[in-house]
């Protein structure tokens, strides 16, 4: 099998047709049994065979009780992976995951225990029910930022444990439900080693689903949300939907974990599904490393197995010592132990890059202060041809007003951005330029006014919807997910091009793989165009500010947007690069026919590249028109170089 697997590497569905039937079969086998799949199959066989064989070979070493401890640990590992999707990846806090386990255990208990069906019905039903409950809780709680999900879930957990699971017609009172390990009819997996084999295979499946999610656009959206919801939105990620998705996946998997746990212990009332268990799960996920699969699974096994093998003199003190260790660990390594390892690896990587052969190579952007040519990628095949807009106006705003409490930040502003032009937005600090940008991109809802983009009224659209229509914006502070790599940011930027649904992401269907390959290729092209190949797998936060700006520009262009909105792109660039920026912006307009709306303080740059200029002062348009006329208006000169600023 391994030989076949290795020979199958690199074979795609579209390789040339073989001649003989034997070769055709060989090719088919190769395309079905890729190295990755062969690897997975090997693992599945190993995990399923190991416990029963070990138990029978060493019956004294692996007593039923010890195996039960491992069974429970495997269930907690599934639960911790479930919570990790929500907390580790998407950065949302749930304090009620024990309750989702309870939902799962009782669902499977009623189906298998009371109605005598197979676990093959009960466990999937537990997943379904866990997911539904998560959806119902998530809809009110996840529309809001902050700790609302934590509060909702903890209250749900308490209500479930103290009330719902004790209602007699659900649980039969305090005795709870019986959960036999029924496969079918009278066939039950009574032996704890056989059951462990099943649990380990389920753990493997959950692990794979988790891997699939994380290598798709869904996982990138989760990580972007955890990092910065505003950035995620400007890359066309529907933040609320994806937070809900993470919660539903997490709730469904926790339901599975709870059902398995119930079948492990055989009978369950509401007692085990407590607030304390929810806290323990959080501890596993955080100590394990917030997003690290292996760390989380290791932590789950450790917390379950360690107390069982601990020396007796330790007894009584393990909890306070564990608690103190927990505080120490999170205080020293807020990203968990796996995060600490990751950081150490990154540091080594950076030292290697700094000290290595790349000396003169690394300096070209920083030292010589050159901005690389910005990528001109072909239009993505998934997008329709560039639409025509009436009157050639890409973006127009009518009478937009934004008020913060008593401050009129934007006052009745109207503006038009014609296609193929570079329009500048200037004005002193506090004039309302960025606020106007936020209103145009949807990050702020203006009190009054209408915004039209590509001939469509977008005034009521959320930022991700506007981004999906082709509005690409940058931020004064870099609008990238800083802990993600350059490649991941390029992929994240193409979120809107990832035309597949969440189910295909979970299963990682061939279609999903093909779309992802296309996106990756495009990302590599963009990175190559920028000359950033050696930074492909570098986290953005380890790049210099100027380099981050360049990556950001690349990300904005990678989707072939209709409009680029740049908020002070020259800020933090070296003078050389800023000068060079003018050339690059003109190239965007002249060679790629792009439309740009630009906020800039660098007036020579604005006068150099812009076709039209709007001058904002105290929230209102002071003047607007072609660059040549604006440059001579006395009130503009006054607003800029007036009394306040010494010449």
């Amino acid at each position: 099998m391994t030989a076949l697997a290795t020979s199958g590497s690199g074979s795609d569905a579209n390789t040339p047709q073989p001649q003989s039937p034997r070769a055709a079969l060989q090719a088919l086998w190769n395309s079905v049994m890729t190295p990755r799949r062969a690897n997975i199959a090997l693992w599945a066989v190993l995990l399923a065979a190991l416990p029963p064989i070990t138990e029978r070979a060493m019956p004294h070493l692996f007593t039923s009780g010890k195996l039960q401890t491992l069974d429970v640990a495997a269930c907690f590992a599934v639960a911790a992976l479930a919570l990790n999707v929500l907390v580790g990846y998407a950065g949302q806090m749930s304090l009620g995951h024990a309750a989702f386990m309870g939902v799962g255990a009782f669902t499977s208990g009623l189906i298998v225990g009371r109605y005598g069906l197979s676990m093959a019905v009960g466990v999937p039903a537990a997943a379904l029910f866990g997911g539904i409950v998560a959806l119902l809780l998530g809809i009110p709680a996840l529309r809001l930022r902050g700790l609302y999900l934590a509060i909702t879930t903890i209250a749900f957990g308490v209500a479930l444990q103290l009330s719902i699971l004790r209602i007699p017609w659900i649980s039969g009172g305090n005795a709870g439900v019986v959960l036999p390990r029924r496969v079918a009819g009278n066939l039950q997996l009574i032996d704890n080693a056989d059951w462990l084999a099943v649990l380990l295979v389920v753990l493997l499946v959950v692990w794979l689903l988790d891997t699939n999610v994380m290598r798709s656009k869904v996982g990138r959206a989760f990580r972007a949300i955890r990092e910065d919801e505003g950035v995620a939105q400007s890359f066309a990620v529907n933040v609320v939907t994806y937070k809900l998705t993470a919660f539903v996946i997490s709730g469904a998997l926790a339901g599975v974990a709870g059902a398995l746990y119930g079948h492990t212990i055989g009978q369950a009332n509401s007692d085990p599904f407590s607030y304390e268990l929810s806290l323990q799960l959080i501890i596993m996920v955080v100590v394990g490393g917030l997003g690290s699969r292996s760390g989380v699974v290791a932590a789950a096994f450790f917390f379950q197995v360690f107390p069982a093998v601990m020396p007796a003199w330790f007894n009584g003190y393990q909890v306070p010592i564990g608690a103190a260790l927990l505080m120490y660990t999170v205080a020293r390594h807020p990203d968990g132990l796996a995060g600490a390892l990751r950081e150490a690896r990154e540091r080594r990587e950076m030292r290697r890059m700094r000290g290595g052969a790349g000396d003169d190579d690394d300096e070209d952007i920083e030292e010589r202060g050159r901005l690389p040519k910005l990528p001109a990628l072909p239009r993505p095949s998934t997008l329709p041809p560039r639409p025509e807009v009436a009157g050639g106006t890409v973006l127009s705003a009518r009478n937009v007003s934004v008020r913060f409490g008593g401050l009129q930040a934007v006052d009745d502003v109207s503006l038009d951005v014609p296609r193929g032009r570079i329009v500048g937005l200037i004005g002193p600090n506090g004039a309302g330029k960025t606020t106007l940008f936020n209103a145009l991109s949807g990050h702020i809802r203006p009190q009054r006014g209408e915004i039209t983009f590509m001939g469509q009224d977008v005034s009521d659209l959320a930022p991700h919807r506007r981004a999906a229509l082709g509005m690409s914006r940058s931020f004064q502070l870099i609008g990238l997910a800083k802990s993600m790599t350059v490649l991941d940011n390029m992929l994240l930027a193409q979120h809107v091009l990832g035309r597949y649904d969440i189910g295909s992401a979970l299963a990682y269907l061939p279609r999903t793989a093909r779309v992802e390959r296309e996106l990756t290729e495009r990302a590599h092209q963009a990175i190559a165009a920028l000359g950033f190949e050696r930074f492909t797998d570098t986290p953005v936060r380890s790049l210099s500010h100027g380099q981050q700006r360049i990556v950001e520009l690349g990300c904005l262009l990678v989707t072939d947007p209709e409009l680029l909105m740049l908020d002070e792109p020259s800020a933090g660039m070296s003078p050389g690069a800023a000068e060079n920026l003018a050339v690059r912006l003109r190239e965007l307009r002249d060679e790629q026919a792009r439309t740009v709306l630009l906020i800039e303080h660098n007036i020579p740059l604005v006068l150099d590249v812009c076709d039209e200029i709007y001058v904002l002062n105290s929230g209102a348009v002071l003047a607007s028109g072609p660059t040549e006329t604006i440059a001579r208006r006395p009130e503009v000169i006054g607003a800029y170089f007036g009394e306040a600023v010494p010449a």
Binding site: V87, Y148, A155
Partner: protein, 296 residues
Amino acid sequence: MITALIIGVVQGGMYGLLALGLVLVYKGSRVLNFAQAEIGTVSLFLAYWLVTEHHLPWIVGAVCALLLGAAIAMVFERVIVRPMGSAPRLSVAVATIGLLTLLLSLELLQFGPSPRVLPPPIDGLGLHIASVYVSPTQLISLGAVAVIGAGLALFLRRTDFGLGVLAAAEDPTAVRLVGVRLSHVSAFTWGVSGALSALAALFIAPSLGVFTPGVIGAPLFVASLAGALLGGMSSLPGAFVGGIAIGVLEALTKFLVISRNLSATIPGGESIAIFAVILIVLLVRPQGILGRRAAA
């Protein structure tokens, strides 16, 4: 019915105090302190140890309990929260889970699981209000809560430092620029919240009768959180009023369930009522009853 109302106000007073402490820390450090209730329980055990086992006057025990509550919170702030700086808030919250576990296990090690009693500060008869017996401790505590609440409000509104505390959540840089040290603000909010939770524990002790380690557990913590949420998560008076409202709601639900003989059909109905309130607040008025809608 009236009975339920009075019980609710007394119980709600404790939720209000805990909610006040939660919101104070949340405003200051953006952290939800899961150990909030447990700090109070530890302090209650200190009062028990001094008063019941060493026969000191009640007031000595109470003052020491308040000091211990403040001290635990301030030490935690200094040793764990401040060095974590701008680390993810989730990790800081997990550190408070560590503190919760530590305190709980220390209580168990020192005092064991058997129930304890703290004698009330004043013997003698309390008042009968509408056929409800309100103990003198509860009366005094209600007064103390009102005085402390008003004092805290005055301190926060009328002194530069207090205003700095309030402003620090909105704009830490501006607060530093006017000369208020953020580290002092942080220490202050944690310290006061620790003392508040000790006060809440002392306040609830007579109603509990006996107490064990972890007595202010998840249900009471959830009720306080619901109070904080009802008050808008950032409003101090809102948190207190919200806490009392939750206490009343809880007592009324219990009363209804018992009077309709539903306690077998729906056990723990009050936890469902609190959960429902949280959902309704989130759906209808996420800014809370006294909170202001934050700017987008």
